[in-house]
């Protein structure tokens, strides 16, 4: 084996060496140090390639799969096409089931993003309580810093919309009267979040997709669902 052959092999498969190659390196100082250099390069490469994996990725994958496997209720489009085929579309419209909840939330957030953006400072517990009342909810005061609170109309139903701060991240919380059967993770170009069943109906927690991708929505949703209860008034 000559030096060129040795180096070509080293560059293609640094950690596999034939007997011939081992022999060549032992006899040729130039190639021996070349080997050393390539091994160092590979050590650095290993570090460079090792990007951080988002925490909770496996859990998210499993949740997503279990939801995909349980067919959700028919979509609004399905009902519309059904209604159209019976020529009753117009009169039926107000009674049609809503769009799927995640799509409603995304639409609502996209719509309100300018209003909500850039608020800072706690708005005070009175305002929070007032907004919660709209969905028959109340808080035990452990919501933390709330920078935005609003009663919003989302597809015909009144929802409580909050922006809260927690551990350096900003989240949107929404208390929605509509009930769901099981947790529903969702994602859009701008948002990522999770809706869970809650005594009030359902609770959505949402972050932007620029936020730390290791967000544990299940844990956060659980935390916030304990801060908000059904009103006993």
């Amino acid at each position: 084996m000559n030096c060129l052959e040795f180096r070509i092999l080293k560059l293609a498969e640094p950690y596999r060496a034939s007997e011939e190659a081992v022999l060549h390196a032992s006899e040729c100082p130039g190639c021996s140090s070349f080997k050393q250099e390539i091994h160092e390069l590979d050590d650095s490469l290993r570090t460079a390639f090792s990007v951080k994996v988002p925490e909770g990725l496996a859990a998210k994958v499993l949740l997503n799969q279990s939801l995909k496997d349980n067919p959700r209720r028919p979509t609004r489009r399905y009902w519309l096409s059904l209604a159209a085929s019976f020529l009753v579309a117009i009169t039926m419209m107000p009674f049609l089931p809503m769009q799927s909840l995640d799509a409603e939330i995304i639409t609502h957030l996209d719509h309100e993003v300018h209003q909500v953006h850039g608020k800072s400072g706690d708005i005070g517990s009175g305002e929070v309580r007032n907004v919660l009342l709209a969905v028959s909810g109340e808080t035990n005061g452990s919501l933390g810093t709330v920078t935005y609170a609003s009663k919003c109309l989302m597809n015909g139903q009144l929802v409580a919309h909050f922006v809260v701060e927690n551990g350096g991240e900003t989240y949107t919380l929404m208390l929605i009267p509509e009930k769901i059967d099981s947790p529903l993770p969702f994602q859009s170009e701008r948002w990522q979040g999770l809706v869970i069943p809650h005594s009030v109906g359902s609770l959505a927690i949402i972050a932007t997709r620029q936020a730390e991708s290791s967000l544990d929505f299940l844990r956060l949703a659980e935390q916030y669902s304990q801060s908000i209860n059904h009103s006993t008034i």
């Binding site: 070509i8 560059l11 293609a12 498969e13 640094p14 950690y15 596999r16 250099e37 390539i38 390069l41 590979d42 650095s44 490469l45 290993r46 570090t47 460079a48 390639f49 090792s50 990007v51 951080k52 994996v53 988002p54 990725l57 496996a58 998210k60 994958v61 499993l62 997503n64 799969q65 995909k68 496997d69 994602q187 997709r209 730390e212 991708s213």
Partner: protein, 178 residues
Amino acid sequence: MSDKVITNMATKESRYEKLVTAYSPWLYRYAYWLSGEKTASEDLVQETFLRAWRFLDSLKDEGSAKSWLTTILRRENARKYERKQFKYSDVDTDSISMEPTEFDARPEVSALRIALKGLPGKYREPLVLQVLEGYRLDEIALMFELPRNTVATRLHRARQKLRAVLQDDEEIKQWEYR
């Protein structure tokens, strides 16, 4: 549902769970070096596993699970991002340095990462498989459906290019501090 169907389902679920837990970190890293961004990588991993669930019965041998999943991910990526294939050269390096928690932040590692991002995908992909997961040349060749020699040449060129970049970097540094 009969008891047998339920048992089969439970077996499938536990088998699936093991695959997700064992291989999602690797698939995410691989997806990252294919697509170049966090969001796209997470989506790719999600889609890979959804597809894997549907075709789980076709995976006969658990020993080949990683290659099987990696191949699914490569195909998903080709299918989805073919047209808007990430051009690393379009990314300004600010967006890289904005993610300090993602990476080892030592300057030499940063330089290497930028060099890797500048490398064409056909060189970068086999390199990730070989360096990060210890795949052998013939295994990579099989996965990429390419002759072994072609893969060898790509790996050889990849390391040559990276060495050149790093050496240039070294020379610039020496020149700057002279």
